[in-house]
Symmetry: C2
Subunit: 213 residues, 2 copies
């Protein structure tokens, strides 16, 4: 949603600017995402960039929207591309695991998580993204384990997504590297989530914990 540039050429230019901004964001982080830097990467002048995105916030919003939209589309496409509906989840998880081997694919999200903690508008959009993400997973999970309640299925979907997001930290090269054993155990957990419906073990007793982690 850029300010101007409705014509085909304008649209193209707009996309190119967002491409440059995204590359800059991945490479240097959101604090380095300056209008000048983006303009330089895009190979255009500052004034020209400002014709499309008058302020930095406008640029960031457009970039965020594009990134999340793309991620959503990719997830749903992957779900649909499975051999059988039952394998949809496995296929998507497989693809995500593959993505995690590329640092660039997640660096962007690390910045987004940090940003969302402070900028409510970004938090709102990210929240909507993950809600849809988890919803899609829950849908498939419900098909695989029909005896589970709606709430249970949703909880497990959230758990699975959290696991994958957390795992990205240890697989994208910066804090760790992909590990076969871990992948194997992940598959066991994943199948467990979609199959086992036994009653939960007793919850541990409560105890007031100290602050901070």
């Amino acid at each position: 949603m850029s300010t101007r540039g409705a014509s085909p050429k304008g649209q193209e230019r707009s996309e190119a600017i967002l491409d440059a901004a995204e590359r800059l964001l991945v490479d240097e982080g959101h604090s380095a995402l300056s209008l000048r830097g983006v303009a330089q990467r895009a190979g255009i002048r500052l004034g020209n960039l400002q014709y499309y995105f008058a302020t930095r916030e406008e640029l960031v919003r457009a970039l965020l929207a594009r990134v999340l939209e793309r991620a959503t589309a990719q997830l749903e496409e992957r779900m649909g591309a499975a051999d059988t509906p039952a394998r949809a989840l496995d296929t998507a998880v497989e693809a995500l695991l593959e993505d995690q081997k590329d640092p660039a694919s997640y660096r962007l999200f690390y910045d987004l998580w940090a940003l969302a903690a402070r900028e409510p508008t970004i938090a709102t959009e990210l929240r909507a993204f993950y809600a849809r993400y988890i919803g899609t997973v829950a849908e498939r999970l419900g098909l695989a384990a029909p005896e589970l309640s709606r709430a249970e299925v949703h909880a497990r979907a959230e758990l699975l997504v959290a696991l994958l997001e957390g795992l990205s930290l240890f697989r994208s090269g910066t804090l760790g590297a992909p590990d076969r054993k871990v992948e194997a155990e992940l598959w066991r957990v994943s199948t467990w989530l979609t199959t086992v419906s036994e009653p939960a073990p007793p919850a541990p007793s409560r105890k007031k914990g100290p602050q901070r982690r």
Copy 2:
């Protein structure tokens, strides 16, 4: 490890500066972590701050070291504080879940994850932190499930830590809120990780944990 200030008062001042820096980091993110800002929050002059930390990087390194050291100590203290050794993991997980309800406790780590993706020195320290973190968890996991191999135990520990880190995203208020159902399912996964050890297809289990298929 500040540059100067070995005397008790200097030590105190040094800690106060790091406190201010940490508050600023949590509130505004690492891009807002300026020497001037820290000095203002600490209620001292810029020159005074520079007496303790000559450069920004020095400050950041000291801050990072203190944060990770504290987190490590807290985790190990929590493990040790359990009623029984067997409950050590549960106790620690409980405490972590409690922490996750406070946004401030994790915001800092979101920034660290983003930073680590670009600054090798930070990545190195964070990696060491998580290695120790996962190692501690693996140790306890090994006690709870002695029939698992060392590698399996380590893989499960990494999985559990990843799950908790990922979960923090959805529990710290910005992208979601704590949810009882999710917690319940987390406990099931957690106990599953510490109890179930039979391979995928065969063999009846004697453990209390849920069974597959």
